[in-house]
Subunit: 523 residues, 2 copies
């Protein structure tokens, strides 16, 4: 299931596998399977239902072609999956029957081909199917973590990923980031100065990253920063989990110029434009990459794959056998049939169109910011910010007041913003009361005021790295005072909705920040 030729052998990382995972045994039934292939053998040993009794005969899917194969507008391609000997190697029957846990051989080969084409990992690896990155992460935590461990994450991290491990008593060891991603120096500091006693747990050995278009921050870790982070992980023997659903949704920075119509580049040029993955620079086998088709085909597919050191995939296969078995058969069949039709080149052209669509949506949101606020680059910001840009309003005296800073995301579906509460009357009032967390209290009021104005953002508090119940408030987390974060998603609304939504945000801010409600675009 992998590509083992001419690759570096991984270093020994078996000590990362936890006690429970180490004690899993392969099913003894596997021993029988090799006998089943003998000439003339009659097996009364299997337990599979009879495939003639599955009620489905044919499956057909009408699909969009990738841009490179488009001939006429609205034309669809038809994928047909039939049963029986005439169906060849795409015989639907195999996808209706139980699988072995390892997934369909052709799909694993496809995963391997894609991995070689996109990442060309220097180290030996295997691909193993899984039913989506949510489940994949759950299996990785089951593989590597013990109760009460620490996991290194970004300061703002994907909430479902930590909701999984919080009940295990696991805590986050957060590392702060700038526009290029988490700081390798901070990571190194955290690890080097780890005090087991003060922390109440062992030095972390696992780094979890959504390294491209991070949810929520939108940050994509730069190539240079990746090298620095990888070196720290080698020094302190960390395993890197690269959860990367947005890898192919990388796009250039926002510019106010007229957008060019979509034009697919040659596949190799497209691939060269993408930041190199951690997997592509992993010379030791310490990167576990979680690949998903959820953001590139569709989420309901519930299909993806691990790319990892065989010492990890072998254990992940053991847990797959008892926790999930193969991903759903129709999902596997659809995906293989689609790739047979599209080819990998067609898929890479499809991805470029996706990239273009999400870039367009990002542009809608940022141009709405420019319409409603005066936007300054960080260098010219009246407040220090690592966030790229600052959206300002002018107060009655004409003075620029920074309202929020934001990241211009180069990937993904989100714009992360930091709101500044300094001098905001209601916040000042809350701060004068002896509340435990005036920032959180005002954030909540601000969110409610926006909801009353019929616009919903996601509160930044959902994404705080979980450091335990004693480190929840702004102060206890050591976060910047007089500020809080919100996430804007641009994936689903229309251009008009996005502009209207930002206008409503401004209405609320005008009122709460007590600045003059005048048309900035007219200045």
């Amino acid at each position: 299931m992998g590509s083992l030729d001419r690759k570096l052998a991984p270093v020994d990382l078996s000590h990362h596998i936890n006690l429970k995972s180490r004690s899993r045994h392969p099913s003894p039934l596997k021993d029988i399977i090799k006998f089943m292939g003998y000439d003339g053998m009659i097996s009364l040993a299997g337990g599979l239902p009879h495939p003639s009794l599955f009620p489905i005969e044919n499956a057909q899917f009408d699909c969009l072609p990738p841009p490179s194969q488009k001939t006429r507008d609205g034309e669809v391609v038809n994928l047909h999956l039939g049963r029986g000997p005439s169906a060849g190697d795409l015989d639907l029957t195999q996808f209706l029957q139980y699988g072995s846990g390892a997934g369909n051989r052709q799909l694993v080969q496809l995963a391997t081909d894609l991995t070689e084409r996109v990442h060309a990992p220097p180290c030996q690896y295997e691909c193993l199917l899984h039913p989506g990155n949510t489940n994949a992460w759950s299996k990785v935590v089951g593989l590597l973590c013990e109760d009460n461990d620490f996991v290194v994450v970004e300061e703002f991290t994907y909430p479902s990923a930590q909701a999984l491990w919080i009940p295990m008593g696991i805590k986050a060891a957060p590392v702060s980031a700038d526009a290029e991603g988490i700081l390798a120096t901070s990571l190194r500091d955290t690890l080097e100065n780890w005090d087991e006693k003060a922390r109440g747990g062992k030095r972390p050995k696992l780094l979890y990253l959504v390294s491209v278009g991070s949810n929520p921050t939108g940050i994509t870790i730069s190539a240079r920063r990746r090298k620095e982070i990888y070196a720290v992980c080698v020094e302190f023997d960390l395993v890197i989990v690269e959860d990367d659903p947005y890898y192919f949704l990388q796009y250039p920075r926002y510019s106010q110029e007229e957008q060019q119509p979509f034009q697919a580049e040659p596949p190799e040029q497209f691939l060269k434009s993408l930041v190199p993955s951690f997997l592509s620079m992993d010379t030791q086998g310490r990167v576990i990459r979680l690949e998903s088709f959820s953001k590139t085909l569709f989420p309901g597919l519930r299909l993806g794959y691990f790319v990892a050191n065989p010492v990890f995939t072998e254990r992940l296969l053991r847990v797959t056998e008892v926790e999930t078995q193969d991903p759903a058969g129709l999902s596997q069949a659809f995906t293989i049939a689609l790739f047979k039709q599209w080819g990998i080149d067609g898929y890479l052209a499809w991805l470029q169109n996706l990239q273009y669509q999400y870039k367009t949506r990002r542009n809608w949101l940022l141009s709405a910011f420019h319409d409603q606020f005066e936007v300054l680059p960080a260098a010219k910001s009246p407040v220090p910010t690592a966030q790229g840009y600052v959206a300002c309003l002018r107060d009655k005296s004409g003075k620029l007041r920074p309202v929020f800073s934001f990241v211009d995301p180069e990937a993904g579906m989100f714009v992360w913003s930091k709101f500044y509460f300094d001098g905001v009357p209601r916040f000042v009032e809350l701060e004068s009361q002896s509340l435990e967390d005036p920032e959180q209290a005002f954030s909540q009021e601000l969110w409610e005021a926006m909801a009353a104005e019929l616009v919903l953002l996601t509160p930044g508090s959902y994404y705080h790295a979980w450091q335990g119940p004693d480190k929840v408030s702004t102060k206890a987390r050591g976060a910047d005072p007089r500020s809080a974060y919100f996430r804007f998603s641009f994936a689903t609304p229309t251009k008009e909705q996005i502009h209207e939504a930002v206008k409503r945000v401004r209405t609320v801010l005008d009122r709460l920040w007590e600045v003059a409600a005048r048309d900035i675009t007219a200045t």
Copy 2:
């Protein structure tokens, strides 16, 4: 998601939920969802990819009709799933997008309708979708078990179910069975006399059963026995997990008479012929039923549902959100479309055909036994057996020698058999050596001799309840000496293959048991 009217309220069973499961919090994003429905609201809060960018436009499945709807041979019905407003309530888009974890509302309703129709549970319950019983059991163990617990199981149990929990240090507390299922008296004894110190763990609070057509034993627990077992579970506060993939594959006992051609009965008559489930007699909410479409539609679907006390399904939903999310969308869409076409009555007719097909296959195997051996009912057996029937060979002096006893299964896909080694020369030889487990050693040789004769059975040792590393040998387990078990599966081979396979088994037995190889059918 359930049917709460006119039902008994469950007793409080929340103390069964383990510490980790209790500490799971619902995603804070859920709080936002209710705001999304407001008139005129624009949400920049969601994180869903844009559905116009999913490449699939239509899905079509050609399906077999249920026997009740058959008009012409070979006719298929076409299920069509399209996208957009004209697609109505089966709009494919919803199945391509992320779900909420709770599954599609229509499918949950279907699960509820099926549950009412088949089981009419007396107590309040909810249905929650899952991606197959393997995953469902993994979630139930995650809900109820702590490390180093004990779980009550049948003496011979489904190996993947225990492979899941063995790494947690969990052990089986096995209960022996007769032809009507596990003995309620033995269950009571085990629980009443539980010695925490001697056992090294707390009294079990969980009973796991494949209660119809058990894998491997083929036993279906009788209605009378179920009532006795349920009463013991109430007395000792046990939760019953009813893993029941073979429920609809119940059929009458074997008879040597000519088989009647298939004829579907009216649905209510069919349902009345089935043994009542534990769920149907659960007046307290202590049954968690695992339902699967794997054996009734097809395994690759990876779709089933829990039927359980809402106090359990609420926690199971929490873990679904972080461990698997919704089952695969195409599987959900296919299943709803199929039921819309077939109706529940059509499904019940389909099941009767399945039942007939597996009964026919069971008959092929048992008639092959009758062809190759002299088969006596247990009452006339030369050896005491709880197994129903004994297959005998005559030795050179013409004396009947019992070779193996077997269950005539009334459900499922397997015949469970116990082989008697008394007086078998090679076994006597092995017994005279001071081996730790001569039974296991001879079993292995017997299996290899059959494999060399080109017939594969599954060794019974795969199904031994796991009581720890010190209780593996025949003696340490307290199992009957001079015997061992094998499982025959009749699900996949043809009639000719089954007859040939049993003939090969006999060839091996003739040789190893040193009986005359003469044609018994001719006597």
